[in-house]
């Protein structure tokens, strides 16, 4: 086989025009699913993480212990393990959840665990004088937390938050294991049906279209936020 023929074969296998035409609509609707899942996971995860970090700052021992346990366990377990337990295990207890719901719950919880740690690290890194300045000017604990401490903690955590949100949103691909019709699931079944590798190329392209701008945005943010307080 000479080189041009090899190249042509490569193009046919990975960039087959007919296959692209046939599966593009399915793939586009799968991209919408991936985007939509990713968006609600990020919003929920970051919000829950923020609330948990605030609760932890109250320094009530049983709250602290529960939050640390939650954050540690969810950071130590592979998300796929939790997904399988939720999806295959809970029906045994009569709790039925759809694939997308399981995916959302598990990934939002994992993101919340990481966000809690990021916000908490920011809060503890804050010089004590910032708290004292707030309290000395007659502001309550909650007012100082919200107006003085949190904005600074969030700013310190922005690069890690963006990176972590990205990493976890990418895990929506795990939905393919439990029948969520997201990008990877749709293209895998297209690959199986068509017997062509082209749907996989399309999947890779779809993910790049979604996440490459996000990665570049993260890089830009990292540079912007690298100033010292």
């Amino acid at each position: 086989m000479n080189a041009p023929a090899g190249f042509q074969r490569f193009v046919e296998v990975f960039f087959d025009g007919a296959i692209i035409d046939r599966y593009l609509p399915d793939l586009l609707s799968a991209m919408v699913t991936t985007l939509w899942l990713g968006a609600i996971i990020i919003v929920t995860g970051v919000a829950v993480g923020l609330v948990l970090a605030c609760l932890r700052s109250l320094q009530v021992w049983w709250l602290t212990v529960s939050i640390v346990m939650f954050a540690d366990i969810l950071r130590a377990l592979p998300p796929l393990v939790l997904i399988l337990i939720f999806y295959f295990g809970l029906p045994g207890l009569g709790v039925m959840m759809s694939g997308p719901l399981v995916l959302f719950i598990v990934l939002a919880a994992v993101l919340a665990a990481f966000c809690e740690e990021i916000f908490w690290a920011g809060l503890t890194a804050l010089p004590r004088g910032q708290w004292e300045a707030g309290r000395a000017t007659g502001m309550s604990f909650a007012q100082t937390l919200i107006s003085v401490a949190l904005p600074q903690a969030v700013r310190m955590g922005v690069p890690s938050l963006v990176n972590r949100s990205l990493a976890i949103t990418k895990m929506t691909a795990l939905g393919s294991v439990i029948g969520v019709k997201e990008v990877l699931a749709v293209s895998s079944s297209a690959q199986a049906m068509s017997g062509s590798a082209t749907p996989l190329t399309m999947a890779a392209a779809a993910y790049l279209a979604i996440f490459l701008p996000a990665v570049i945005f993260a890089r830009w943010l990292e540079r912007r936020f690298s100033w010292k307080v």
């Binding site: 010089p127 004088g129 910032q130 004292e132 300045a133 707030g134 309290r135 000395a136 000017t137 007659g138 502001m139 309550s140 007012q143 107006s147 003085v148 904005p151 600074q152 700013r155 307080v229």
Partner: protein, 252 residues
């Protein structure tokens, strides 16, 4: 002094675990008086100052501000009581994420519930008073240390405190920036503000203080007018400290 003093500390004790930091401190600051606290580091002077707005919890004793004991006041009222004392820290502690004028407005809005317009007007007045109205929209990181400290003073003044507490306000400043902060303090005194100052600026104490208090080892060793303390100290510890300080100052 016929009136009740603005600030009165009686039998104040403070222990960290088993370590006694303050022992039976008694101190009065009259209305419009500027009282200077000097003493070696570790003498407990900053701790005493921080007890006056309960950033430090006293172990026992009383602290009256304008006749009201703040030591046994319930936590719910503490935030309101803290408005009566303005605190200026060694490290300024401006909020780095807010502009200068927002720094001065924040507690007015949150703690005093002033509306934004009133708070901004008041903030601009206070910034003008410390000579920094033109920096209102700058971020703290764009200011020199001396300017930051003057903003911190404005932030405290904006809340109409009855007493100003200064915790080594010039110790973190480059020598050439100290003067601008001391000038603001001198202006405040001229306007009749009651002030309790912990500081090493002996020349300023000699010139501006109504009374000087010497602390060592957690107790008030002696107090009196600056001429008496600097000119004719009664205790060996005072004499030793002053000679060490003046020697040090001479060596510079």
């Amino acid at each position: 002094m016929a009136q009740t003093p603005m600030l009165e500390i009686t039998a104040l004790e403070k222990r960290f675990g088993t370590v006694e930091v303050l022992r039976s401190i008694n101190l009065k600051v009259g209305r419009g008086e500027l009282v200077f606290v000097i003493g070696p580091s570790g003498s407990g002077k900053s701790t005493m100052l921080r007890c006056c707005n309960r950033l430090e919890e006293p172990t026992s004793g009383s602290i009256f501000i304008d006749g009201r004991n703040i030591v046994n006041c319930p936590a719910a009222e503490l935030n309101r009581l803290r408005l009566q004392t303005g605190m200026v820290f060694q490290g300024f502690h401006l909020y780095p994420h807010m502009s200068v004028v927002r720094n001065v407005m924040l507690a007015q809005i949150k703690a005093l519930k002033r509306n934004k317009v009133t708070a901004r007007t008041r903030a601009m007045d206070m910034l003008d008073r410390v000579g920094l109205a033109h920096k209102a929209d700058a971020m703290p990181s764009e200011l020199s240390g001396g300017q930051q400290q003057r903003v911190a003073i404005a932030r405290a003044l904006a809340l109409n405190p009855k007493v100003m507490l200064f915790d080594e306000p010039t110790s973190a400043l480059d020598p050439e920036l100290v003067g601008s902060v001391l000038k603001v303090m001198k202006d405040l005194r001229a306007e009749g503000m009651t002030m309790l100052v912990v500081s090493h600026e002996m020349a300023f104490a000699r010139e501006a203080a109504d009374r000087v208090v010497f602390m060592d080892g957690g107790v008030v060793v002696e107090q009196g007018p600056p001429e008496a303390i600097f000119g004719n100290p009664q205790h060996d510890r005072t004499r030793a400290f002053l000679s060490r300080v003046s020697h040090h100052a001479g060596a510079e």
